[in-house]
């Protein structure tokens, strides 16, 4: 893990959607997909107090790529950043997803949960081994969908209402069922989505091959505050440094 005060190299705001692509330069790290960074712009002085955690979406000549949604106070202020602004940044944090190029893998992601899988699929040496299911609310074009290599077997489902959600849940169930004896299932998305996957993982007895990335509230991002803990079979453990990815069988609660 490294700490650096980095610079905004580029910030791309999507029209009509509260989504931002942020490119940071100055942090030279090697990351594993599913790992994340803590970001705190220098301009935040005292408020908000905490940094904010974001998955590493990718890393290339444009720098560290973060894909973020504006949901509250912190992200609202991140959206106001300009090129050249300074941000305290540390990472890569956490364990990340297991990656094995020879194995088939199923990715289930919802909303911003797509972010770490851009990196996952790009780094993967056999993208044809990946099947990716993506549930989303907004127009597909606002997500980094095109950054997922075309060799990936990818499907997007838009949810605009309750009915779509139910349909998507059914799809997820089917996907898990189909894949239960094949390989690992990697999951990232909002909590209700994780809960659903967690349920089916046990129902279809493949929970020991399902990996869920948790987005708990974090204050320190270094394992010190114990604010971000997940309830596991080994007690409460820090999601930041021991996670954010946990096997479904390790989690007692989501």
């Amino acid at each position: 893990m490294e700490f650096k005060t980095v610079q905004v190299k580029k910030i791309v705001k999507l029209e009509g959607a509260p989504l931002i692509h942020l490119f940071l330069e100055g942090l030279d790290i090697n990351h594993r997909a599913g790992q994340f960074v803590m970001l705190r712009p220098r301009g935040w002085e005292f408020d908000p107090l905490w940094p904010r955690p974001f998955s590493i979406c990718n890393q290339d000549k444009d720098g560290l790529h973060i894909f973020l949604q504006v949901v509250g106070r912190g992200t609202r202020r991140l959206a106001l950043l300009n090129k050249g602004d300074k941000i305290d940044c540390w990472g890569p944090i956490g364990n990340g997803f297991p990656i094995d190029r020879r194995e088939k893998v199923l990715i289930l992601c919802g909303g911003m949960g797509i972010a770490p899988f851009v990196s996952f699929c790009t780094q993967h040496q056999n993208p044809q081994n990946i099947r990716l299911i993506f549930g989303h609310r907004l127009d597909l074009r606002v997500y980094p969908w095109n950054l997922i290599p075309s060799l990936v077997d990818k499907f997007a489902f838009r949810q605009e209402n309750e009915k779509d959600l139910k349909k998507f849940e059914k799809q997820i169930k089917q996907e898990i069922y189909n894949f239960k004896d094949i390989g690992k299932i990697l999951v990232c998305g909002p909590r209700p989505f994780l809960k659903i996957v967690h349920k089916y993982a046990f129902e279809f007895k493949c929970a020991d091959r399902v990996y869920l990335s948790l987005e708990n509230r974090m204050a320190c991002g270094v394992g010190a505050c114990l604010g971000c803990v997940a309830k596991t079979v080994n007690g409460y453990v820090q999601t930041c440094i021991k996670g954010p990815v946990f096997k479904a069988t390790e989690l007692e609660e989501i």
Binding site: M1, W50, C225, L226
Partner: protein, 306 residues
């Protein structure tokens, strides 16, 4: 830059600089070793330790508030034995003061903890956290009742042998001086203040408290004015070394607490702003002293002109 002296003496406890890290905000110290040289700090106060490991409170345990935060971690810790075995050996205890924060539910348990640590040469001092509920008296904290505070400190002082005993005071009291008097009378060598203010946050969308525990402790820059006042009250009234805690995030804040009478400070929630913050303050302090023409901190401590 001319040479300045950042050493401070808190009775039996000598520190090479007045910057300590506050309990619960700096883990067991090791979590921060990749962001700076632990040995450069005035001291490291580790997460509150109890006799047995504790699981702490259910989630959510933390929530951000304006210029601050609430926590209800519930003293999750690995227990004193595991600390001595798995953490302490890796801390630079020869070069910096490693201070153990103690947490217990009864006077006797506090005594046992003190006894275990009394002969532990790698530990520079004990800090007694009396902001925990006193179960027998129905939820009021040890730190809110002078008589109870006295008993705890008396017991710890008795069992701690040669170790300096720091008592950490709760700000949730009508008169901080009363509690301070009690723990001083009970033999405390040093007092540190303040612990967190009681607070709460709720979510109108879920209609639930934002902390599973309902209540939590408020910390961060928001509470600095309250901490500064209490430190001033205690330091100017009693002849005991005081450590200031509460909302410190800048090197100027460090000198503010010393100006009102603290001999050292603890950096708490500000460690979350960036993990290198406490190390930065250690580096910046001599520069600010230079700028202000302070040659030695001794002359500065308590020199507020009122």
């Amino acid at each position: 830059m001319s040479v300045v002296n950042t050493e401070v003496e808190l009775g039996p406890l000598k520190l090479k600089n007045p910057i300590l890290t506050a309990s619960g905000t700096f883990g067991y110290g090791l979590e921060f070793s990749q962001f700076g040289d632990l040995a450069s700090l005035g001291g490291v106060i580790v997460k509150g330790l109890s006799l047995k490991p504790r699981q702490g409170n259910p989630m959510p345990r933390i929530v951000e508030t304006p210029c601050g935060m609430l926590n209800a971690i519930g003293l999750q810790n690995i227990g004193i034995d595991a600390f001595l075995k798995d953490k302490l050996p890796f801390l630079p205890f020869k070069d910096t003061a490693v201070i153990v924060n103690l947490y217990a539910h009864s006077v006797q348990e506090f005594g046992e903890l003190a006894e275990i640590l009394s002969q532990e040469t790698r530990v520079a001092a004990l800090e007694v956290n009396i902001s925990c509920p006193n179960v027998k008296q129905g939820g009021v904290q040890f730190g809110q009742e002078p008589k109870m505070a006295f008993k705890v400190v008396e017991e710890v002082r008795k069992k701690a042998g040669p170790k300096p005993v720091i008592v950490k005071l709760s700000p949730n009291v009508t008169d901080i001086k009363e509690i301070a008097r009690a723990v001083i009378d009970a033999g405390s060598d040093i007092v540190s203040l303040i612990n967190t203010l009681s607070g709460m946050a709720v979510d109108i969308y879920t209609k639930k408290p934002k902390l599973k525990n309902i209540f939590g402790g408020l910390s961060g820059p928001a509470i600095k004015p309250v901490a500064l006042k209490m430190v001033y009250e205690v330091a100017s009234k009693f002849d005991i070394p005081v450590i200031g805690v509460g909302g410190i995030s800048k090197v100027e804040d460090v000198l503010e607490f010393l100006l009102v009478g603290a001999l050292a400070v603890q950096i708490g929630s500000a460690n979350f702003m960036r993990p290198g913050l406490s190390f930065e303050l250690v580096e910046e302090l001599p520069h600010l002293m230079n700028k202000l023409g302070i040659v030695s901190l001794k002359e500065w401590v308590g020199s507020l002109e009122v």
